[in-house]
Symmetry: C2
Subunit: 388 residues, 2 copies
Amino acid sequence: MLGNFSYKNATKLYFGEDSLKFLNEELPKYGKNVVLIYGGGSIKKNGIYEAVIEILKQNGKKVAEDAGVMPNPTIEKVREGVKIAKAHKADLLLAVGGGSCCDYAKVISASVHCDEDPWEKYFLRNEKTIEKIVPVGCVLTMAGTGSEMNAGAVITNRETHQKLGHGFGEEAVPRFSILNPRFTMSLPKWQMVAGIYDIFCHICEQYFSGEDDNVSDDLAEALMKSVVRNSLVAVENPEDYVARSNIMWAATWALNTLISRGKKTDWMVHKLGHAVSAYTDATHGMTLAAVSLPYYKIILPYGLHKFKQFAINVWGVNPAGKSDTEIANEGLTKMEKWMKQIGVALHTSELGVTEDMIEGLADATFVIDGGYKRLTRDEVLKVFRESL
Amino acid sequence: MLGNFSYKNATKLYFGEDSLKFLNEELPKYGKNVVLIYGGGSIKKNGIYEAVIEILKQNGKKVAEDAGVMPNPTIEKVREGVKIAKAHKADLLLAVGGGSCCDYAKVISASVHCDEDPWEKYFLRNEKTIEKIVPVGCVLTMAGTGSEMNAGAVITNRETHQKLGHGFGEEAVPRFSILNPRFTMSLPKWQMVAGIYDIFCHICEQYFSGEDDNVSDDLAEALMKSVVRNSLVAVENPEDYVARSNIMWAATWALNTLISRGKKTDWMVHKLGHAVSAYTDATHGMTLAAVSLPYYKIILPYGLHKFKQFAINVWGVNPAGKSDTEIANEGLTKMEKWMKQIGVALHTSELGVTEDMIEGLADATFVIDGGYKRLTRDEVLKVFRESL
């Protein structure tokens, strides 16, 4: 059953090999002051930076640069970015990069016309009202977070070892996002694989919650099957356009709220993964991968029906002659086999976690309701011990 | 592979048993003159009319009524509706009904500020530009057409025996749509079943085209499975909220352009069905049902790969030891069995078609490309003979 909900998502998406040219259709809709937001400079090596700058110039824009957005954007960086956007009287924030750049741009967008500190307002107090938004546009270079079509952002506070997410309202989604699968091909394979697991995990977080029969779960299964099938092609040949385009589009729909409509969601894997990231600065998708199976093995008995459905519908487990628990476990075994095939981290030790960090990781884990079982502290410790 | 495309759909959707109250959130966004568009008056029997009027009054709206929109709205009716909206200086067109009312409202919306005749401009010349739009809102009482979240409309010209569709631009989607599954329960079972087949057919039209592997087809299969599973529950117990809510949500996503992104589409079943409707005024979904299988049997050899995939992924056909053609045919056999179970029309004779109409039906059929095989006139005649 689908519960009560609302849905609106007005991001305009341009998808395909030729999609960058549509920046020419979007730029005239905004004033002349553009802040160009990007990361460590990889876009200067693959030609994307030059191509974007050229289009900005052709459209008569005055550009200020806000470079160096890190994979896990920090609140300190956000505070600098707000100053840049204010000083430039930004009419548009153009994020060119992956989900980190896009998340970061959304927080700047909501903070330019706000006197309060964004960490206090949005991440600690979870306040929903935004004074006035500076529009965000996105040229995506990595498939994973879905940030290109949602109103969420995750920011890290290195001082306090906190990595927190905030969901802004529907008015904060990017006005437009340009999705060119070829741009994602310049990434190292490790990053591609981390993005793929991030997508898969987003779907799992929304799927493994609630007992009800609903079309959102059918759509979730379709996206999971597509991600699994195409990821196996992409790890063999990262230049395979079919696989990379399907992965990019699946990523967008995995986290634009469609598959969570009318149902409960979990997000505990992200809470566990965020603790690992806050301690090690490890790649987001890999932290999720390393904690997923130990977590799912704990909650499986409480969500047996859904884990059985997952095994049959996503992994093609033949249920004949098996108990529900056997079917469900076989699904997780097949998931683990796939994770090994694509090469994600299965242990947090690969990401820099050491045994002496475990108590601290548990302290840094924000336990939430939503999944099939609320974790006790002992269970949180168990996840971190088993994922080591 | 996903080809190049764009996507934007800004309709705000309110879904659930309590969703009508959100009309109070939407109405203040528009001026005081509202045209209330509805059909044959069933909304006066089930209390929806009174509830809507009450909310309109509470919000201080001045209401003009445009009643009597027929199941296949005619261009003559559109011309009257334009006069009503003009005379009332409409700030909002509120369609309360099924897809017919919503389609009709969209055509009025695009025609109020237009000097030309809408039939000439939109349906014969297929012109895309709209002078100025009057916003449309929708309170949906029937699941089927998906009109609540798309920019399409189908209008019938009884004089010329033409039933033609037009796709307006993304700016013409309803500003908001209210989807209450309980409202759909007041429909006669025949209408519910016609709507269910309409949904299924929309998905098929987008699925049975192109040979490429893409996530749009994965999503299409998920929606088809959901519709089939829930329809079998709904025909047994039309009051089953789980089933009716899933069917209603699947209908919206079956035709809001998501599952056609990056791929070719067919729509030939609709062209064949429209000819039947234009001759008999039969219920849209039933005309589609009656012509589908004869059409699919003709194109099956040309799209064997996809019909095989359909059989396995949607209908659970076990492929072991069977040829591709056997697998594909078994899929259609299972589809036919399902159609009988839910009780759709499998013959156009049930809808009023007689043998002497067949040549005329072929004349009225607008043959298009897009599917696996462009039909010859002989093949069109064959479809109508076999569906009789």
